[in-house]
């Protein structure tokens, strides 16, 4: 592409958004999706746009492309290379899209045409935008596939999207976006749907692109760790406004807006040098609604610990001062301490007495139906899938076991087997020395009452057509044998206990936010006063500040009632924060398990090591580790030999990994188990230091 704007480059930023406002007019009133947003992107830099859901960050991204549905009003300026894009013709915008400005969306599956091979999709884009002949188009396509790190770039064009893993699909989408060498690349949560190990490789690619391509990248994400990894500068949004803008190191080290400081203190962090895990802080209240009309005040003031009368009387402006821009009257007062003192996660260590829950040789198979797909006809089905293989663990009273792994690792199946939704195939599950039946229907009333579960998606786990009291009151009536009146007042008390207004009791789930819904799910799990609560990705769908509230509620419950938790998450940071013991699962197998601090430290299973190094830390100074896994978690079939992790293992030692099952080795203590062929002494030395 010819670059006829070199003379601008030094003076004009590539993208400059000034006081952008976006309002949607809907039958149910006006929605101020963006109230006042300003940001700049220069060539060759990655600007992170971060905020919680509903803060308008995606709308900012979409308004650059002019993709705004419905009846919409856009105010302010979007200056691209010195030209204001607000209000220009659709046809002029069309020339910019794809050619000069390209976008990468969250879900690669919806960006790619499932009925077309990758190659033709790429060629289509190249033909539409560039004047190339057939051979050149093909050559360019291969070049692009190569540039995004796809293996065998010359043949990958022959494959359909569904033949690629999620990470590879996202690489293809990025290659498509790069097709015309855009000046500005907008990435809207490009790694949110991906596993951590895949996410890490995509983030590497973004960092690499920044260095290779002289483009500006606007990177939208809710994940502070991801932002810390890729961004040069960061803009924070709250309640449809940009509230702070500065370099990535300043944002994380010395935040100047109380909201930024609050967000950072909600992120679970590794234990301090003294071995204390700091308790998460919480931001009280909820986000200022996009539907509400803003008065002349700071929109964050109702939740702000340092708000003064001035904050309620006038609205602060987004002003630049000493190289940082912040929408706050008292940026100098902001520090991490305004959100409360650093306290250890647990007030006192619980007395460890009895073992509450044990699993012995737990196996879950997804059986294929006897031979044929249908009763009499259909093709022969494949052999059954081994979702959980020989899992052994025990959890003591008032303790938490964390199960971590990527999607497809069998961690959720373990939870479903424990609670009896997916019957185990063999092995033994014992709770308080009672052996539990495989199926929940065959368990006793007391056994059901003593083990409860909280699912990932609160919208799915609450019946959308029934008021929220239904789930809570039914639990109370069935388990505590209360009558209607007692159950009703107890349900109100429980709602209050999880920090909800008890008057919400008659509302249907749709009328609550995701965080509020999850708290209702917690209330109904707490209802029977269970001994064991399984949290199956219970905080994964929540924003970081809401996640902190829910995690604190769980820990509070553990402290007050002595509840035992089985905490399942793909997020190592969260698991590390809550767990006393950690079990790392891969493809249905337990790769490593033991006390949390031992699992997290060397010696580690190569998979644990890879997970640890892939987890994005909310710290831009953290040195990115180089251990990366390609591909995706395989599905374990009946006939399988060798090590479950051999296919992706960065430390594979040879044929033994493909032929023999890895032995159980113990680490520092006997309860720290690593399943690997590599001797423990060698595992103590991390791969990164081996290479260095």
């Amino acid at each position: 592409m010819s670059n006829n704007n070199n003379q601008h480059e030094s003076t004009t930023p590539l993208l400059e958004i000034k006081n952008l406002g976006v309002s949607f007019f809907t039958p149910r009133g006006t929605v101020r999706a963006v109230r006042d947003a300003s940001l700049t992107v220069n060539r060759g830099e990655v600007v992170g746009l971060v905020g919680e859901s509903g803060c308008g960050k995606s709308t900012v991204a979409y308004s650059i492309m002019g993709y705004l549905p419905g009846i919409v009003q856009v105010d302010g300026e979007i200056n691209y290379d010195g030209n204001n894009l607000v209000g220009i013709d659709e046809s002029e915008l069309e020339k910019l899209r794809g050619n000069r400005i390209a976008m990468v969306y969250q879900d690669p599956q919806t960006s790619l045409n499932p009925t077309m091979k990758i190659g033709p999709q790429m060629e289509e884009v190249l033909k539409a935008h560039l004047d190339l002949n057939k051979a050149e188009v093909r050559e360019r396509a291969v070049e692009l596939f190569d540039s995004v790190g796809l293996a065998s770039p010359d043949t990958i064009g022959e494959r359909y999207p569904h033949e690629l893993s999620g990470g590879m699909q996202q690489r293809v989408v990025i290659a498509l976006a790069l097709a015309c060498e855009p000046d500005l690349l907008i990435m809207d949560e490009p790694t949110t749907g991906l596993d951590v190990t895949t996410e890490a490789t995509i983030l590497d690619l973004v960092v690499d692109l920044k260095e290779r391509v002289n483009a500006g990248i606007l990177f939208v994400s809710h994940n502070l760790g991801v932002i810390a990894r890729v961004a040069d500068r960061v803009t924070v949004m709250y309640a449809s406004q940009t509230v702070e803008e500065s370099s990535v190191s300043d944002i994380f080290a010395k935040p100047q807006h109380p909201y930024t400081a609050g967000l950072l203190s909600c992120v679970p962090r590794p234990p301090t040098a003294e071995g204390i895990t700091p308790r998460l802080k919480r931001i009280p209240g909820s986000v200022f609604e996009a539907r509400s009309e803003a008065g002349n005040e700071c929109l964050f003031a109702p939740r702000c610990p340092i708000a003064s009368t001035e904050c309620h009387a006038s609205a602060p402006q987004f002003i630049e001062e000493n190289d940082r821009t912040v929408r706050c009257f008292f940026p100098e007062k902001v520090s991490g301490d305004i959100w409360g003192e650093l306290r250890p996660r647990r007030e006192q260590e619980a007395e460890i007495d009895s073992v509450v829950l044990t699993a012995e040789d737990l196996n879950v198979r997804y059986e294929s139906r006897a031979g044929k797909k249908y009763i009499l006809f259909g093709e022969q089905t494949e052999s059954s899938v081994r979702a959980v293989v020989d899992a052994n663990f025990e959890v003591k009273r008032s303790r938490t076991i964390g199960i971590v792994g990527e999607s497809g690792s069998g961690k959720s199946t373990t939870a479903r087997a424990l609670i009896g939704l997916t019957p185990k195939s063999s092995g033994k599950i014992t709770m308080n020395s009672d052996e539990l039946a495989p199926n929940v229907g065959n368990r006793t009333h007391d056994q059901r009452a003593d083990m409860r579960i909280v699912f990932q998606n609160p919208t799915a786990s609450l019946n959308p057509k029934l008021p929220i009291k239904h789930a809570i009151m039914r639990s109370l009536k069935l388990f505590s044998e209360m009558d209607d009146g007692e159950a009703y007042s107890e349900a109100r008390r429980l709602l209050e206990a999880v920090g909800l207004n008890p008057d919400y009791i008659e509302r249907i789930p749709k009328e609550l936010s995701g965080g509020e819904q999850q708290r209702v799910a917690l209330a109904s799990a707490f209802a029977a006063n269970p001994q064991v609560i399984l949290a199956d990705e219970a905080v994964s769908a929540l924003d970081v500040s809401v996640q902190a509230q829910v995690l604190n509620l769980l820990l509070q419950n553990q402290q007050d009632e002595g509840t035992t938790f089985v905490f399942i998450s793909h997020d190592l940071g969260v698991v590390r924060y809550v767990s006393d013991e950690i079990m790392v699962m891969y493809a249905g197998h337990v790769a490593e398990q033991g006390p949390a601090e031992m699992v997290l430290a060397a010696p580690s299973h190569p998979y644990t090591e890879a997970l640890l190094s892939a987890a994005p830390e909310p710290d831009p100074e953290a040195s990115p580790s180089r251990i990366r896994l390609d591909g995706a978690v395989p599905t374990m079939r009946e006939k399988f030999s060798g090590c479950f992790f051999a296919e992706r293992c960065p430390r594979k030692i040879g044929a033994i990994c493909d032929t023999e099952e890895p032995p159980e080795q113990t680490g520092e203590s006997s309860d720290h188990v690593i399943r690997c062929h590599i001797p423990v002494q060698e595992l103590s030395i991390s791969i990164a230091s081996l290479e260095g």
Binding site: K57, L421, G441, H445, S461
Partner: protein
């Protein structure tokens, strides 16, 4: 909302609110253009069915000498003109039309409600239980569905003479045997189709986590099916019920046309068309009036169906 809580209040309202909920999807159709036409049309017909006989200016069955009178001919006996003329026996077509509304609407409504109720129960239970029994139930439903409905109706009506116990039922309901049989036929014809649709709705709902939650609480299958799943299947049910109603009307009028509905001389739209089809050229209003009545009712019901479908799927969410 009050802070003083009276839990029993919720229980007293239970049945009433339940019934209101049941009709909510139907009235939601009024939000759409199709529903705004369909719903009043259907309500008009239902109103006629309720009051038609009372509004009729003349006796629907009495003969008179004024035969083949064209519409708006002044009456010999009354002050109101014959709005839709008279037929070959001198009966007032408008009055017959009004009086006939009740039989067709009541028969179709009862038949389709019965079919929907049976089909819903079978479909949801079959879908929820799953496995072999589901397979068997659905194959039986396939078998029933492959039988032409009109033929099945004729078959049922022709063997009815030999069934003595039918007389008991029909006399208990103060009606002749035929309407009971037509209703029964409708139930048999429609329930497998409804069962299919509700089964598939149940299959998609039963994997939801709130159903898992209910199982984990130890709720009974009946509670789960009717308290957890049914409310979520209501939109599907409303559409399906509406579709079945329109087919029931067509079946009822077809049977009437074949002389298998209401006993003559009571007016029946299908029979009216059949009786007067020979005079289509001489007095076209006589067969056309009931034909138009059937058509408008069916069109109304179909528009209502369309409206419910649109209203229930109306995307009202905004992008972030």
């Amino acid at each position: 909302m009050t802070t003083s809580h009276v839990p029993s209040e919720g229980n007293n309202n239970f049945s009433v609110s339940k019934i209101v909920d049941l009709f909510r999807p139907i009235f939601s159709a009024f939000r759409t253009p199709a529903g705004r036409v369909g719903l009043p049309l259907v309500l008009l017909h239902v109103g006629l069915a309720a009051l038609g006989g009372l509004l009729a200016p003349y006796s629907p069955t009495d003969f008179s000498d004024l035969q083949y009178a064209s519409p708006f001919t002044a009456s010999e006996t009354g002050t109101i003109p014959h709005i839709l003329g008279t037929d070959q026996f001198g009966r007032d077509v408008f009055s017959r039309l009004l009086s006939g509304a009740r039989s067709i609407i009541v028969i179709s409504a009862v038949g389709s409600i019965l079919g929907v109720a049976i089909g819903t129960a079978i479909g949801m239970i079959s879908g929820y239980i799953g496995g072999k029994s589901d397979e068997v139930i659905m194959r039986v439903a396939d078998g029933l569905m492959s039988f032409p409905s009109l033929l099945l109706a004729l078959l049922v009506l022709s063997v009815s003479d030999s069934l003595a116990w039918l007389d008991g039922i029909s006399s208990a309901l103060a009606t002749s045997k035929e309407p009971v049989l037509v209703v029964a036929t409708m139930a048999i014809v429609h329930s497998p189709r409804v069962a299919r649709v509700l089964r598939s709705a149940t299959l998609s709902i039963k994997v939801q986590e709130y159903v898992d939650s209910a199982r984990l609480r130890g709720e009974s299958a009946i509670h789960i099916i009717f308290r957890e799943i049914l409310p979520n299947a209501l939109p599907v049910l409303a559409v399906e019920g509406s579709v079945r109603f329109s087919y029931a009307i067509l079946l009822a009028s077809s049977l009437g046309f074949l002389g298998l509905g209401v006993e003559p001389p009571s007016p029946d739209w299908g029979a009216m068309i059949a009786d007067s089809r020979s005079i289509l050229t001489r007095a076209p209003w006589v067969p056309l009036a009931p034909a138009a009545a059937v058509a408008s009712l069916v069109v109304g019901v179909n528009l209502l169906t369309e409206g419910i479908r649109d209203a229930q799927q109306l995307p009202s969410e905004l992008p972030e």
